[in-house]
Symmetry: C2
Subunit: 503 residues, 2 copies
Amino acid sequence: MFEVFESGSKISKSDYKKRLPELRAELLKTQFQLQKENIPVLIKVAGVEGAGKGDVVNRLNSWMDTRHIETYVFRKESDEEANRPFYWRYWRVLPSGGQIGVFFGSWYTKPIQRLVFEETSAAKFDAEMSHIRSLEQMLVAGGMVIVKFWLHIPEKEQRKRFENLEKDDRTKWRVTDYDWRYHNNFDRFLKVSKRAIRQTDTSDSPWNIIDASQQRYRDIAFMEILLQQMKAALNRNGVNKKLSDPLTPKLHETARPNNILNHVNLLPALSNNEYKKIYSELSLEIEYMAWQCYQNQISNVIVFEGWDAAGKGGIIRRLVPALDAKLYRVIQISAPTKLEKSHHYLWRFWQDIPKDGKITIYDRSWYGRVLVERVEGFASEPEWSRSYHEINEFEQQLIEHGTIVNKFWLHISSEEQLSRFEERKQIEYKKHKLTEEDWRNREKRDDYKSAVHDMIAKTSTEYAPWNIIPANSKNYARIRVLEIIRDSMKKALEKKNKKVSGS
Amino acid sequence: MFEVFESGSKISKSDYKKRLPELRAELLKTQFQLQKENIPVLIKVAGVEGAGKGDVVNRLNSWMDTRHIETYVFRKESDEEANRPFYWRYWRVLPSGGQIGVFFGSWYTKPIQRLVFEETSAAKFDAEMSHIRSLEQMLVAGGMVIVKFWLHIPEKEQRKRFENLEKDDRTKWRVTDYDWRYHNNFDRFLKVSKRAIRQTDTSDSPWNIIDASQQRYRDIAFMEILLQQMKAALNRNGVNKKLSDPLTPKLHETARPNNILNHVNLLPALSNNEYKKIYSELSLEIEYMAWQCYQNQISNVIVFEGWDAAGKGGIIRRLVPALDAKLYRVIQISAPTKLEKSHHYLWRFWQDIPKDGKITIYDRSWYGRVLVERVEGFASEPEWSRSYHEINEFEQQLIEHGTIVNKFWLHISSEEQLSRFEERKQIEYKKHKLTEEDWRNREKRDDYKSAVHDMIAKTSTEYAPWNIIPANSKNYARIRVLEIIRDSMKKALEKKNKKVSGS
């Protein structure tokens, strides 16, 4: 695989000088076109230490319109980053539409290092590569262009370069201990890198391996490949636009499954007295648990979805007094902003992922993709239908990091909703909560109901099942939700303590 | 996930009777259209034991045009199957264009059972699911429609059905020990099935879970979903046809890497005397090794690719006399037949995968996809560019099964090729070997050279690297190839013996 790139690809000075001006002009032109079409570009620069990754990136920055290009170097994780799922640091800085993001070392670096130094198993490494493949596929399906470069130099060349740098006091500092550690494990690095490249070399986002022995060739090859793949993205974009028609005919009504919501028992209720008694007890417990979670670095993600007027806000207002204000954030999700729209739809949710020990409460969430965006046609069918899988992967990453994920669907009957709407109309201080949109949504209740059914079917995973909460009785719903939150914290704490005492 | 399908979906007798005739007519019509468009359909029927998978499949067969539908039940592997890589039994019976294949139990069954009964680890299970996802993606990308059904019934319903069957002597036999074993592990089966479904529920080939408690609903839902997804495939097919233009602009010549073939030292040669001496020794060794491999159930796949007139045939003629005729087969690959064309391009190569202990020699191979089909435009760019990954996955499956894979590129210079062509023209008994096509290919040597370079770069994996053989000297090439084959057998035998004596 790499041997092929050790055959000394060269460009003469004159060819270099001839090609350079055209290439720069073409690159700039293509950058502007991508910007006009609002396509995000992610350039990943990886490869052998000493191959000149930094030089190439510097050159790239000097050639492009720097207002729309941003470079990120991912070295050791900051505390901020280590306290969140592995991919968080990458998600937060993904390029938006029209922007170019250059990732210098990225989600490949750590798994490769860990396998080289035997801090992980081959099976876990492969699982990580499979995650990466899914992630890249998801980003590309969402419209991003990913151009992946691997700069290669042979072992001998690496040694020569390090030694030359060390000879001169002014460049000595550039050769680190890690560089020599890399050199001493050169073969192992190549072997593991091969394994990574093989597993993530897809036609969606192929690897481009470049012979980086000669600087001129390295730079020109880098730019030519980048240009070619950006142009290809422009071509594809035109084609994709043609594909917006729904491809799947509607399912005949006879085959629709009996909607799960038809079977929710909406009778459970609690009197005010019962409610008050249980609530004051429960909120004390939750307060205690939340602190325990904080101490134990266990974070919480709590998602509220439900019919309009089902009482999401009311529950959240009962939940947060039990929590220390430093520990939680409530994120209210409404229509995406222009910036958010120019990203993969999951991007904005990654931003607010809680740090270890903290709690993020989502008033509506990423499930909007398969609810409102599906029903209202804001997302095309291929878009929302692949979201189920994407959401499951996303939540799996939260869980694997040790986050507790609770998802609630607050269910009320159509009649109950109507009477709550009417009530809001009457009461002055509730009037603002009722909008035209609420009435329009109500008319589409059947479509929403199908979407909810599918959502629950497709995203009730073994690690993050949905909780369907009968919410005709506000008292009952509030207590039920708080109980589930308490129980899940309790379980997570017990598990953690068992692990600690067991080890 | 499954809970949603326990809500008792039902269809009334009258609705059933009303919908049935239309549905049958539509299904048949759609089957004919798919046949006309030469689209292969794979229907997978999985689910809880006792949910009525067999009944549904029988019904399906009675409704469709049975000339173009074939059902396969995958129970315990036959010896034939156990002696080959896991997926072989499935590949060999995949439906061709216009055909419907019904798979009853399939690549999901075994991994699920193994995890339920703790015969495998969760990590290995996940790796298997990742293979399955790749395989299904590959088949769908190749034009196949995959419709996956999961029939679900609740635990109680399962017990009731088994008990009812057992009450009657005429149906008693239908409940097996395995069925009860399943029942006793019901929860674990559901949990593992969820894990499988979650990981393989892609928008390319989504799972359809059906509430199978009521027979009428089960059948109608099955047929409706099948109809809907077959229609969607017809729609997509129309769209895909529009996408045949190349999407990737050509890479500018300056960025082309120095071709690996430029660096092959073609000087090595052997005199006839040397050759004879080494050959007689080598062929004895190979004969012995091949028998040892047979005894140890190690199979061999040997792939020959190379320039026209590079001497593939000559080497094979030197190799096979060393082998017992019962042990090997030589497969000559030329243009695919009509049947082969209507399958995924890898299909025909799966057919001849050797049984454990045997040897298959491929005179040209699956690499035609990224050589002749790429250069001549028989495969579109998206098609051949995704093949590298597909080929790597394919060879990985061979390796993981314990097969030795040797790949040879026989390299001769352009001058040497010309002189061999001229020689063939002169000599009466060699004339037939030189065709018009050889001359045409020769004119495209540069394009082929780029394709060879990319092939070696992309498919020289850590487990199956390419061997580039300098073949200007026929004697040298023959010896070199035989040596590599001998050494790889030797290595594999040593490894196997070490394992046996070590365990």
